[in-house]
């Protein structure tokens, strides 16, 4: 029997009280995610249960019980407190997927500070804009990434501490830097968890915007109510499951479903901090007897590309439930997984701002391959007209996905950007910016983004951010950045570039520009294709017509060009 039971019954009789009761929370109580993920599980008699199984490069292996988690997060919280970190300070985690990331996240929350996870592949420019905007007070990092932090530290007046978790003592630490060795620190038995309330801020995730710099999405401790129940009903997590969420906690899936919900449910989870290969992934599943696997379409398509033969080398019979998130899961991937694993991947839809799963395919409910599924019980969803924002009642008609605000994990604000936050609401709906239609049976079907944001491998990249960075390259006069189709990543970044006089389009320049963006922003933002053109198509008012260039890449109709500037 699946946790959700009957979707239709749940949808009819839903209340978030279900989650509050299971978590023993009553309105007005203190609610601290850090405490719920550790102390509460120990109080329930699961102190010796394995919380985290971790594998890293070179066969490194570490394992932690819930009691370890409680003590180590206390230790980190105590260390941060000793440095002067107080409630609502922003503490950035800039780490690879090592145990200090996961346990450090929980420790930060226990202090009442706000955890600000950033993807460890970010370059210095990506890092600085996010740390500057958040006025981050401390950053937890590792030697490998310290070079990037050192390059920007002088530009960050609010930064007071750089905590290095793996300082081998070889090179002297520099200004603001302090070493902290989690595994060997004296464990703190008691830490007074900060009495956060439902609306106390918890996590700040940055997401790309169409026209401005990245936005800090502020979440609160009450988000746990959504994250707990969605993980229980959509991912179907149960007491004896071994769970693997492949997402990096630099992104929201990696925190909501890679830290918070599995640990609030007291589940054993596995983390793998090595690069992708089909053999390595299947071997990881076999070795740890993983039963519930939450992954992403890009990874699934990469596995498809690796072929079916490799699967036969491994015993994957422990798997019982598969789910996917990050970008639309194509029907072929669902059919493939059913063929090779005997299980269908269940697609789910949500975004950084929603904080938890909003639309999904549920265990026990028939899957329509290629569909996003149905709204989570209690989430009021619709497709609305893009002009009037009125609900579209005709099945099959495309409009904008819309949600009625009110679910617990909804973002509370864009950091220091109320104006952009307010613009996300219209006619009483929250508008995520995606287009879809609903079929006669109530299933949602994804159509595409309603803006220029590029979804590459499940990560959003802002064309504006890439174009801004390109302008800093000495050869680039101007550029337009759009998506182009890609089998594995769904979309990749393509740049149309106009060169300054005296520069010539050569393969060497191509490579130089690619590496320039890779290091400045991130590998995700690096244009995988660069096309040099003499002029960019623009409107008469001078706005770049990205949609023309994008249509060209996707083999679509170019559409209305009446506003196009004359040559």
């Amino acid at each position: 029997m699946h946790n959700i039971g009957s979707y239709d019954e749940r949808a009819k009789n839903f209340s978030w009280d279900i989650s509050e009761k299971e978590l023993g929370y009553q309105p007005g109580d203190n609610i601290n995610i850090g405490w719920y993920c550790t102390d509460r599980i120990c109080d329930m008699g699961k102190a010796e249960k394995t919380a985290l199984i971790w594998e890293g490069l070179g066969g490194k292996h570490k394992q932690y019980t819930y009691n370890d988690l409680r003590l180590l997060s206390n230790t980190i919280a105590g260390f941060l407190t000793s440095l002067g970190i107080v409630a609502e300070d922003r503490v950035c985690i800039f780490l690879d997927r090592i145990p200090e990331l996961y346990i450090g996240f929980v420790g930060i929350l226990k202090t009442g500070a706000i955890a600000q996870p950033l993807f460890s592949a970010f370059g210095e420019e990506s890092l600085i804009v996010r740390l500057e905007n958040a006025e981050t007070k401390a950053i937890i990092t590792q030697k490998k990434h310290l070079g990037k932090v050192r390059k920007i530290v002088d530009k960050l007046p609010y930064l007071k501490h750089i905590i290095v978790v793996d300082d081998p003592g070889k090179a002297p630490l520099q200004q603001l830097e302090i070493a902290f060795d989690m595994d060997n620190a004296e464990r703190l038995e008691h830490y007074e968890v900060y009495p956060t309330k439902a609306e106390s801020p918890s996590v700040l995730h940055y997401t790309s915007g169409t026209t401005g710099m990245p936005k800090g999405v502020k979440h609160v401790h009450y988000s746990l109510i959504s994250q707990y129940l969605t993980a229980k009903w959509v991912l179907d997590l149960k007491e004896n499951d071994i769970y693997w969420c492949t997402a990096d906690p630099g992104w929201v899936t990696g925190t909501s479903y890679g830290i918070i919900s599995p640990w609030a449910l007291g589940v054993t989870q596995c983390v793998n901090d090595i690069g992708f290969s089909a053999d390595a992934w299947y071997s990881f599943i076999e070795k740890h007897r993983i039963s519930v696997w939450y992954s992403a379409p890009t990874a699934i398509r990469s596995l498809m590309k690796a072929g079916d033969e490799v699967i036969k080398k491994y015993d994957l019979s422990s798997l019982r439930h598969l789910a996917s998130v990050g970008e639309p899961l194509n029907a072929e991937a669902v059919i493939w997984s059913d063929k090779v694993f005997g299980l269908k991947f269940h697609d789910s839809y949500w975004q950084t701002e929603t904080g938890s799963i909003m639309i999904s395919n549920y265990p026990g409910m028939p899957i329509k391959a290629g569909s996003m599924g149905k709204p989570f019980p209690g989430v009021v969803s619709a497709v609305v007209d893009p002009e009037s924002y009125e609900e579209i009642n005709d099945t099959g008609k495309i409009g904008l996905i819309a949600f009625r605000p009110g679910w617990p994990a909804m973002m509370r604000m864009y950091w220091n950007n109320e104006q952009v936050y307010k613009a996300k609401f219209n006619n009483g709906w929250y508008i995520p910016g995606d287009r879809a239609y609903i079929d006669p049976e109530g299933y949602f079907w994804f159509v595409g983004r309603d803006d220029d944001i590029i979804n590459t491998g499940g990560h959003l990249v802002s064309p504006f951010e890439v174009e801004s960075a390109l302008l800093e390259h000495p050869a680039v006069a101007e550029s337009a950045v759009v998506s182009k189709p890609d089998f594995v990543n769904m979309e990749v970044v393509k740049a149309f570039v106009c060169l300054k006089p005296g520069y010539e389009a050569t393969p060497e320049l191509n490579l130089e520009i690619m590496n320039f963006i890779r290091k400045k922003l991130s590998p995700l933002a690096m244009p995988q294709d660069i096309e040099y053109i003499p002029n960019l198509p623009k409107t008469r008012s001078g706005k770049i017509m990205r949609r023309m260039l994008k249509a060209q890449e996707w083999g679509e109709e170019i559409g209305d060009t009446s506003t196009l500037e004359d040559d």
Binding site: L57, D96, A121, K143, K144, H145, L146, G147, K148, P168, K170, D273, I274, G275, F276, S277, D279, A280, S302, K305, T456, G457, V488, N489, P507, E508, N510, L511, M514, N515, R518, K519, P523, L524, M526, Q528
Partner: protein
């Protein structure tokens, strides 16, 4: 020729992808499955090889497995140099 190619590739990988890292890599280090180079960055490595050796590596040959070690990359480059 083989020694020269693998030396060039190793130097490039260290210079471009191992900045600020303490780890030492060899001709046999797993670059992709070992997490040193991600699949997005692999594209820039492919462009480097194509530019340096004036070859065209088809997408179906430029797989994570073919790029996983400097040795594998060297094999791939030699295969396509021979086809020139």
């Amino acid at each position: 020729m083989r020694d020269k190619i693998r030396e060039v590739v190793l130097d490039y990988v260290i210079k471009e992808y191992m900045e600020d890292q303490d780890e030492e890599i060899t001709y046999d280090t797993a670059l992709i499955s070992g997490g040193f180079i991600d699949s997005f960055s692999m594209v820039s490595l492919k462009v480097f090889l194509e530019t340096k050796y004036q070859i065209k590596l088809p997408d179906d040959k430029a797989t994570p497995e073919a790029f996983d070690t400097v040795e594998n990359i060297t094999d791939l480059v030699i295969e396509f140099l021979d086809k020139k």
